[in-house]
């Protein structure tokens, strides 16, 4: 393997088995980490941020060794990183590429924008149906109010 010769490069970039999440907006790296619960994972994880990107200006990248996501889990990051791309790595090779898709329903991770909503006043898991996937607008299953992309706050 060629890049094995370059030791510094090896540590940062190559993983044998796992997932690389690319094209995360640099500002949203930590929200992505929270949404995926990576702060509670024991696997080896490498983050890079403020990397140059033609599409996003500055992007972030996450490399997870030995971690593979189910589609419904990875799609949760579509709220903050709709352009994110996944590379699935097996034996140092990219065996599959995936894009994220905004799911039909969002549970737990978003706070309802309505301060008078019961979910902001009592210990309740939030639940939304996605009424617009392009501009991301979420309808609360409880108060029926709409939370727009700009107001999305990750719990």
């Amino acid at each position: 393997m060629e890049d094995m010769k370059d030791r510094t490069h090896l540590v940062v970039s190559a993983i044998k088995e796992g997932t690389v999440i690319d094209h995360i907006p640099a500002n949203d790296l930590f929200r992505v980490i929270t949404i995926l619960g990576l702060n509670h994972v024991d696997n080896q994880i490498t983050f890079g941020t403020n990397l140059e990107s033609k599409k996003l200006g500055k992007k972030a990248i996450i490399k997870l060794s030995g971690v593979f996501f189910r589609n419904e889990d990875i799609n949760r990051i579509a709220l903050v990183a709709p352009q994110a791309k996944l590379n699935i790595i097996r034996d140092y090779k990219v065996v599959e590429k995936k894009v994220v898709e905004v799911p039909d329903e969002i549970t737990r991770i978003v706070r309802c924008v309505n301060p008078k909503c019961i979910t902001n006043n009592e210990e309740i898991q939030t639940r939304f149906t996605v009424v617009d996937k392009t501009n991301v607008s979420l309808k609360c299953a409880y108060c029926e109010k709409i939370t727009e992309m700009d107001n999305i706050e990750i719990i």
């Binding site: 019961i118 006043n121 309740i124 108060c143 029926e144 709409i146």
Partner: protein, 302 residues
């Protein structure tokens, strides 16, 4: 509908609306029935609403059911800091059905998820009040003979008015043409107009309605509250345009009816009360029949 909570007007299909209205018509013919003998219904009013509570309790009493509950949160355990979850889980052991009014939006949906018995939403903040909408539908069908192809005028506070929003959603299933009459500050929100656009339904917006009153089948009045205006001068200038007087409805269709969810403050002048077009007090009576229909159908007794 058996054992299903009624939280939002959007929970029921068009067929289910009509089934409730047909049942309500039966109860109007025979309001006193023994259906709820042995049943206990809890009316949990975390904020006061005399009219709605009495209407529900009247409906339950006329069906020989028993009522337990409280009429404001000062007399409930909520003042001791109990969560809504715990109150509902506990009370659902004491009764067959819960009727709940709560100031927080979404509280009724949440209650229906944790309750062991069905929940009827009697108002959750500014969100939903489905029994009001069903009694409005009943009143409209009863006075007009149909729900189809009517011209409905919605007048007053169309921005914050929960009743007009729910009525719009429900009536949109019946090819209604809507006339929105309100001051600029209280116009119908865009999301509802978009909803009608998507259904291909017609609606018109006006600031006053004396010239077009002859188009109306139903004039649904709401209260324009002073607190809603950012500029008190603007309120003083506009308030009289949204007070209905008998002289304003002289040119209306003979069968036109004026509805109002009540309580009224001053938005319908007393001189309208004696008109044949005034229907708001009968509308309140229809509320009892409609609630009898909702309760007995949820308990599977009809």
């Amino acid at each position: 509908m058996k054992n299903r909570s009624l939280v939002s007007i959007n929970d029921y299909s068009q067929e289910e609306y009509l089934r409730i209205l047909d049942l309500a018509a039966e109860f109007e013919k025979q309001p006193v029935q023994d259906l709820l003998n042995g049943y206990v219904v809890a009316t949990l009013f975390f904020e006061p609403s005399t009219r709605t509570r009495l209407s529900f309790e009247s409906a339950i009493n006329r069906l020989s059911g028993r009522v337990i509950g409280f009429s404001d949160s000062n007399t409930s355990s909520a003042t001791k800091g109990e969560t809504l979850r715990d109150t509902i889980k506990t009370v659902s052991n004491y009764c067959d059905l819960i009727v709940m009014r709560h100031p927080l939006e979404g509280s009724a949906r949440f209650a229906s998820e944790v309750s062991g018995v069905p929940v009827i939403n009697a108002g959750d903040g500014a969100n939903q009040h489905p029994s009001q909408t069903l009694l409005d539908l009943y009143s409209i069908r009863k006075t007009q003979g149909t729900l189809e192809n009517l011209n409905i005028f919605l007048v007053g506070d169309l921005k914050y008015g929960r009743t007009v929003h729910s009525l719009l959603m429900a009536m949109s299933k019946f090819n209604t043409t809507f006339y929105f009459i309100s001051p600029d500050e209280l116009k119908m929100p865009n999301e509802y107009k978009l909803y009608l656009d998507n259904l291909g339904l017609n609606y018109y917006e006006f600031k006053e309605f004396t010239d077009i009153i002859d188009q109306a089948d139903v004039v649904y009045m709401t209260r324009v509250q002073k607190e809603r205006f950012s500029d008190p001068i603007e309120y003083e200038k506009t308030k009289n345009a949204y007070v209905l007087r008998n002289s304003m409805i002289e040119n209306a269709k003979p069968g036109m009816k004026v509805l109002h969810p009540l309580p009224r403050v001053n938005e319908i002048h007393l001189d309208v009360d004696n008109s044949e077009k005034a229907y708001y007090f009968e509308q309140a009576r229809n509320g009892v029949y409609t609630r009898q229909a909702i309760i007995s159908s949820i308990l599977g007794l009809k």
